[in-house]
Symmetry: T
Subunit: 150 residues, 12 copies
């Protein structure tokens, strides 16, 4: 069975408690349940991780590189400035999809640069918790294609 | 039955014939077939349109506003500069999702501003023809939610 | 009798149906009626045109150049980026006034550059449908002055 | 009878004496006469003021706030940089229209930012002394509408 | 016999009638005659097209792709901003040369970005109608070289 | 007894009458009373001044330089652009604290540059009328420290 | 009794040992003592935290959200670039005041953007260790006001 | 006898008392004496004026336009941003020379734009009080040349 | 017989030895032979010069001004920054054409500003050694036209 | 014996496994061995540390400040944006040398700002693992010099 | 007797022959004569030099450093970009005055940065050949002052 | 024996005489001696060159290309702007290392762009004369590696 990483960045553990008009009213637990259901249907193992720390996110990505085949990441606020995370995603060398709950292009101008997304195969913005489900489906597609070619 | 617009912007009629390393090897006919299959499964009517002209894209969006409930649009090169298309999407006042075959954030810097995406609920970048399928699923979700609330 | 062009750009055919807080609740038909009434009083022939297409707007301006003596134009979203329309206005070589229903300087920052307005004698922003009436009066003044000097 | 403020900014007292190719050959006295004639027709009281000083312009606007119902202002060179005047116009809380004799968008690039115009209902550029007459008509419209709604 | 496309962008149909100090006093008919004479000498078929519409220019380029071997294009005002036209030129995949009658680098600063020229083999600026003749000679050179290598 | 200057910039005389959601509902008279109470407790003389004029603010600062030992200033809209006021604060050569009722960093982008604040010891933003009280306490601290060292 | 968070960002644990001309000669222990004394007087509980890690600062803010009623934060170098910390402060949804020992506007230009301060009620710059004391007083005011309204 | 204006801008009345390392140790009285001595030698009448107010500087320039033949101006901090003063200098239509005591190009970056200097014949930077003497000689040259040609 | 200058800038003496994919495989000797052949046919004298020094290029242009009637110049890397060469081309006051072997708009972004080209009649980019031949033909046209008019 | 810190930033633990064309094929273990060998020869103690976390890097630098005499740091992706690390390096107050394996100036434009390098004595870019050896030699030179002067 | 350097940059040897409306109709020989006359009166030796080469200008400045006491330089087009010349002026360590015949602030925007002027005591712009005479007087003042203090 | 070029750019011949706090107190002769000693140890021939002229530096690099195997260059002030030197370094096609005595990132902002360094294998900043020694060692490494692979 192939394994998929799900990486939630800073402040995502607060989902459902803050700014519901922007991020929706679902908690991270709810979202993780949804992802797990979907992964079960697709016969994919999950390794889910949340951290507020850029460094711990990079640690996790590095440690799980060998055992996993792809990643969905919501880098939260680190999306817009983190060269270190961009480098970690490049170094992962397997399919990565960046997801966001909201569409950051509709918000403050400091959210317009999408730096880490430059290191991703695909990007999904604005579907609330469904962004993750879409990302899961698509990264599995990419992982299967990679496996076939590899 | 609800109707969904699918709007392909400039140069997308050439898919499968040009720059396959960036846009993939599938033709627009193939992609439209895939979208139709999926729409059939979801019991959704489609109205598919391609034009190289910003003005005709706006015409189509306006004419089909009343009879349709949502839209997937790949504005191609107009994504990066067209205020007129942005205005047309805002005026459509129903769920719109912007899709791109490639991830423009990985390409030339003049593709970084995503202007029309500021008028969309969600954005999907980089999954080849599957970007449309994902968009179709998500816009149907949004249309159903809108109908429930409306 | 002198003839005046009235050129409505993209999305203006939707007036009264969309974003009424910004553009007002009057339809384009209403506005055109108002313009016609005023033109009648002033003994001026009108040639009114709306298009969502930058190219068709340029076609119209070129075709009507000889038979007309002045123009009111609301270039809509093309105001902010269109060098081609700017060139067409310069080439028209008769009085042109740019009008906008809303005051774009109060809105999104991408509406701040007013490129086509650099090719106009005068600019009128923010008076709703009355922007056209004001424009009509002023372009007639300019046309009469031009005729006297010509 | 309602009262209207007419505020002329720096260097406008020199009209008719300097750079006639840009500003026209009419003096400020002539323009004020024209405004008065028009106000008389419209049954509107005027309070006309000119100052070269940003501070005195703000003083005048504040002092006349209660007794007046609207304003036409030509902020001259302060249009492009004055946050203080912008704040005074916002605080006036009644209809304000900015007018310019010339079209500043056709001139030096440092005239392109129109900062105070962001605090105005409408903007009129480039009709020489007639910019004021147009502004007078339009501000009266707005004042009457405000009175009806108020 | 090989076929060459000649694409004239917006406002070029007005040549000889407007801004003669910038664009020269020759009409587009004259220029087309000159191009035809030269093509005859070189045994090259021509397909000449003018449009004010970005979309129609792209349509033409796509439709004529198979039957032609090269292109001279004067994108007019679309040179400076059109990503869609840039994409169409890349997708054409045969030699393209951009020509301008005037030298845009000597004019308004908004003419300095030459976006479509980034998709061209060569660029010729400032020789009036002769820019086309030079372009014709050079694109034939490139087409012959391409044919030899192809 | 030491004397402290309190300088209120443009539009601050309108406090309590305009934009109460931003500036609060207290009048300048109220704020001055609060400052006086506090000064009385601290055994400090006050010299309070308000002007809408950049020049008069500079005049006041210069005239009171010798007899005073420190200053609280709210430069209002001049904060963002005035080099002349910046120079006057530098030339004052005694402790100066800049205060704002609102937090300008949360407002329009043209309020982000805080030019005059570069010439101040300390800056206090966003506490409504209490910004002045805080400023008063702190400038007294600085004045006492300066006196001890001087 | 209400509880107040005091969050010290990177390098603040070194206070009193480095660059004393900029940051003063007081250690963080001294500052914390001063804050504690003041809190005692005001009957407020404190939870003081220092970290060099952006992630740990966010962790702390999240964990203490429920039990606390307000925060003073000195984000140190993270003030200028951290979107993640900005998001954490917004999500905290209780009064936050940003304090700095020095006035960063007087230092290197890369310290001019004050990003996290956009998420704060108030900002206090440049009073050395007293910035914290001022912040403590003001956040208590805000917390009391919030409690009254809540 | 011809008359020459000498206009000193904001804060120049403080010369000799502040920042002597930048502006020198001479008072404005001393400088004015030096200018008068020199004018006496050159048989030129002087009209010397200092103001901290942009508006009063413009008033003075306008009032003295007819009776004077040239001007030396040190606009102080208004040099870098004042469009109104720039306009007043253009409207003066006689020789103007801008002088600065220090060389602003060696100081803070916000002093690099020299806006009013764009409206002057010549510019003299960095010679302390002698900048005025040099300016006096040169403006007399220009006035004499203007008179000869006029 | 008229004389034409051919000026090759820095590093062009290395042609055929370096970066052949960009500059082609022809040496400067080859190119000069081609230019000479063509000049012979056109009855034009040549004065060919290469230098790596901006100053020597300017010296050459100045010295040959009187005896020559036009110039082809490839300023190499000086194209993008040299104000001095721009000035020398303006001062030459006879037809100048700038040529480049490659199309610099397709290369590094620091090659996008084409400063010296602002001082030229025409510009030819991207035809390898043929850029010079085209330039030769066109400058002869311009020289003949200049002679007729002169 | 003097002690030297060696700080490896984010993703450097992956050396030899990722992007070998950019970073070379040597592992971090190999590099550390090389550094140790060299330190042994030079009679210098080493304290080597790697972390993906900006905060832990700052912790380490602070903790080891007293016991060490100098530092080599490769801040990886934090080089380009981290004000916090810049502050930590300044606060270290002993010789610091920044090293990079690759030459970031040859890579993506977001790697061009070298912020932390502004806080370093010297910078070494592009020598693969040898960058560290060079850095080691040079920091020892600096430490010896510092000791002599200290 | 003290010696003064006079350095004329690129294209200044053409004075009187080119663009007389900008630079005046006097030749460099005329200007040098004027400078010599003035130097004679002031008992100062001159060493006058003109070069089109940035490098030779630097050579000259270096070689003459010991034997001379001050310099007037007109760096021509090198004023706006040359860091090397800036460094040479700093290294000269004696009074330097930059002079320009025209006022570059009134010309093309690429002439606005005055880089070398940042390394000069004083700057004189726009007095034609008299800029040199003024510069000569002032540099002698500075040299005498330097000698007194030295 | 392999030969190494050492190229010193503008003003480096003045070392030890100017700005010793920035560049150190060693003369260029001293540095060259040090380089020679080191080269002797490494059995490498040297060809040392200094010029203040961009053009002569390029000449030298071209002339010595065949006979040499690598280069150390300190381009001085040309580092920041010279496209011509960048091109010459690329065309040299052998290992090049850029060295600077000071760390330009700590100095004026116009020294931040390091253009020529984009064409170098490695860069060494800030070690005074030792920058050259380090560069010598490293370029020899690179030359030996190149020879092995070549």
């Amino acid at each position: 069975m192939i394994k998929l990483l799900v990486v939630h960045g800073p402040n995502l553990n607060l989902l459902g408690q803050r700014q519901k008009d922007i991020y929706g009213d679902k908690s991270l637990i709810f979202i993780n349940e949804k992802i797990k259901e979907e992964a079960l249907k697709k016969d994919v193992l999950l390794d889910i991780f949340q951290s507020n720390s850029e460094g711990k996110m990079i640690d996790f990505i590095q440690e799980k590189k060998v055992e996993s085949s792809g990643m969905i990441i919501n880098p939260g606020g680190y999306s817009h400035t983190s060269v270190a995370l961009y480098d970690a995603l490049l170094a992962y060398e397997k399919p990565v999809i960046e997801v966001h709950l909201s569409n950051p292009l509709k918000r403050e101008t400091f959210r317009e640069p999408l730096l880490t997304a430059k290191a991703c195969c695909g990007v999904i913005l604005g579907f609330g918790w469904r962004s993750y489900i879409v990302g899961l489906h698509e990264v599995i597609e990419l992982m299967r294609k990679a496996r076939k070619n590899g």
